[in-house]
Symmetry: C2
Subunit: 445 residues, 2 copies
């Protein structure tokens, strides 16, 4: 059991007959730390990793430890076998946890020191016995990839797994996913799975689960809380709301974006309010937005994508050469432009776009500002682009518009039908009404 | 003079001998509105446009007006001739206002109803006599284009004009610019103009100047305040800080982004604090960040750009075909990737990038999260990309990295020299220390 605690750390534990999962107390200087001993994947053999009551993991160097006491033996093990007992008795799960990889289920790779997806969801459940107090869960490792390697064929597999989970009687689904492309997958699932029977909750972690300060435990706990108690049938992203672990936020899958490369509270709703907040300690879901899609009778699955769509981030000085190559020498069927301001590019490109739309290529306009709506009627350039056949896509995020276009291209061939679907609000990807409080900013008053 | 007030409105004014620029009082129902009569470009001939004391313009329908009174004759005209007097006396200007176009100097196009850049800076100064109370200004219309049509050759012209303005003895420069690509131009000027003698202040407007609720007057006033009182020699963006007109913020040109398509407070500092705030009513500049580049003896000009650089916004499902075309069939010399999270793409592209960097193409990594820093040492994919020769670009915004690359490519041919310049912090485009308060978010506590 202590195989992860080598050398000195290992000897200490062996002598005290302490195993992973045991509740222990460590005295170090004036400090008393009580928590559950976790497996350590640290290269440093002189470190214990302890899971504290508040959900945090901390690493403690064995140097200068004056006392280690066993408090309770192996509580998670006991609960795990209890859980297995339930399974054997044939009781069905309520919440399915589908693991796809990412930091929430990752560990440090010994050779390179880098983080690799590895731990199974079962292992996580083992160290999060509280999950079983919320709902009967069942875990499945669908695949184990870093989310930057996600692609449309995986979106299809995840969508199929979700459909299967509902068909088997689960009332909610949690998907453990890397954070890098979590928002793209959320959109893909939202367009592929309709009339949902229950919530589909994507969750990730910004710190890997074996690390001190990992947020994976708290995030998974709050995702299961959302999957259990949410009144909606929507695809959502459930992530940390702040950097001090007080609560999580539930974002509509087609209105969320990773807005920071490393912070725990990296995910933000853009052009929409979060649907709910989760008080993970109280295991309580508080709705913030009452306009959600309610649960339906039977989930429908229609997951196919055509990736002959390109996302162009417009910038001044964009060489015509690049754009012409993409529009004329590739098998492109659609282009999403992240234009400037209200939805512009240089008017130099108007004729190129006119030719492309005449050739049947869909061109949709979003804004690289991310916040706000495109409005191509205000300025001359916008009107010229409209006249050239460019379709304004309201307040859709560029990434969401792209995923939607991949889905639409796989369903329609005719440009007018593609256009009509792209401007229809299929699953809440367009928010017709913006309020002032949708834009976050600092105050320097 | 009243040529813009036609039909009924025109008759009323003619009878009262009221001209544009006069201070008048209008009684309508219980309301008394006092302000300066502005030229109206509205198609509606039954509307007066009045500039209020608080800097706002409002449109008032002539219907149900019970009284119009002339309070003071033509105050702006008097001041304008006073200013011309000063000029004739040979007194030099302190602040140069260079107009490039955009909404701050735009009017409604009669044929289409869309907004077109048209008003000269002089016309604006005419209706903003307060500007001359802050500093002796001189205005120049460099060109009159919507900023979405901005391109590197125009950046060069603006940089040359700024250099000339300092050489002529001005201590600060204000550049009126469309907001769509203002941040790109700010970066271009920051890399082209070094050891600045004084502040170079870009300013725009989110509502055109002839519209009720235009913010152009306030913005221009605060930009001139910044140009006059700022202790720094940096290129900055001066824009509204909130939606209630209390103050403006001064953002470092290489750390700012238009984050909303239509709000008055659309501009935000990203990965950096704003340098200062401007209390435009008090004509006061309050520094928020003490670490700025101080004014230098003589501004140097080195403005050239090579636009054989492409900005790739990575997304799952990106077809290899698009990327291969750009990397192998165009005259590309450099690629900036807006990658996911800490700086990733799918590992499927690693070998393609390795080939490209071997062929001498610079590939730099930024994050599409926008906030936060890239760190390619944490995950396996990041390490693979590093090994393939991809250069991590710290916390640089994708757009800033792109403009910098265009500048660097015009100065260096050798890949190692290009790389070395790209990772050097030339003008504050890299912020080595992030604090928690750099990330804006809502509180739902």
């Amino acid at each position: 059991m202590q195989e992860n605690y080598k050398a000195k750390a290992y000897d200490i534990l062996k002598n005290l007959n302490i195993e992973e999962g045991d509740l222990i107390e460590i005295k170090k200087g004036d400090l008393r730390i009580r928590g559950i001993l976790l497996p350590s994947y640290s290269k440093d053999e002189r470190i214990f990793v302890i899971k504290l009551d508040n959900g945090y993991n901390i690493g403690i160097s064995i140097d200068n430890i004056s006392e280690i006491k066993l408090i309770t033996k192996n509580s998670s093990k006991a609960q795990e076998s209890e859980r297995k007992e339930v399974s054997r008795n044939g009781a069905k799960s309520e919440i399915k946890i589908i693991s796809t990889g990412g930091t929430i289920v990752s560990k440090v790779e010994y050779e390179t020191g880098a983080v690799r997806p590895a731990l199974t969801t079962e292992e996580i459940v083992q160290f999060l016995p509280e999950i079983n107090e919320i709902a009967k869960v069942d875990a499945e490792v669908l695949f184990s990839i870093l989310s930057e390697n996600m692609k449309p064929e995986y979106w299809v597999k995840i969508a199929e797994s979700v459909k299967k989970a509902f068909d088997e009687g689960n009332t909610g689904v949690v998907i453990a996913h890397g954070t890098d492309t979590m928002a793209y997958t959320a959109s893909a699932l939202a367009f592929s799975l309709r009339s949902l029977q229950g919530p589909v909750v994507l969750v990730g972690s910004q710190r890997s689960s074996d690390r001190p300060s990992s947020d994976s435990a708290i995030n998974l706990l709050s995702a299961v809380t959302t999957a259990k108690y949410a009144p909606f049938g929507e695809v959502v992203v459930n992530m940390h709301a702040d950097s001090s672990d007080t609560y999580a936020l539930v974002h509509r899958g087609v209105k969320v974006r990773k807005m920071h490369s490393s912070r725990r509270d990296a995910f933000q709703s853009v052009n929409d309010k979060p649907l709910a907040k989760v008080l993970w300690k109280e295991r309580k879901l508080v709705m913030l937005d009452k306009s959600y899609m309610s649960k339906k009778g039977e989930t429908t699955l229609d997951a196919k994508f055509d990736n002959r769509a390109f996302l162009l981030y417009y910038y001044p000085g964009l060489d015509r050469d690049f754009l012409e190559h993409i529009l004329t020498n590739t098998k492109i069927r659609g282009l999403i432009i992240a234009g400037t301001g209200l939805g512009h590019t240089s008017s130099d490109y108007v004729e190129l776009f006119r030719k492309a739309t005449k050739d049947g290529i869909f061109i949709g306009m979003t804004t690289q500002c991310l916040f706000g709506r495109v409005n191509m009627n205000v300025y001359t350039t916008g009107r010229q682009l409209l006249d050239a056949g460019v379709t304004p896509l309201e307040d859709m995020l560029p990434e969401v518009a792209l995923v939607k276009l991949m889905w639409v291209l796989a369903h329609e061939q005719d440009l007018e039908k593609i256009r009509s679907l792209m401007i229809s609000n299929l699953v809440g990807e367009i928010n017709p009404r913006h309020t002032l409080d949708l834009f976050p900013r600092w105050s320097y008053e």
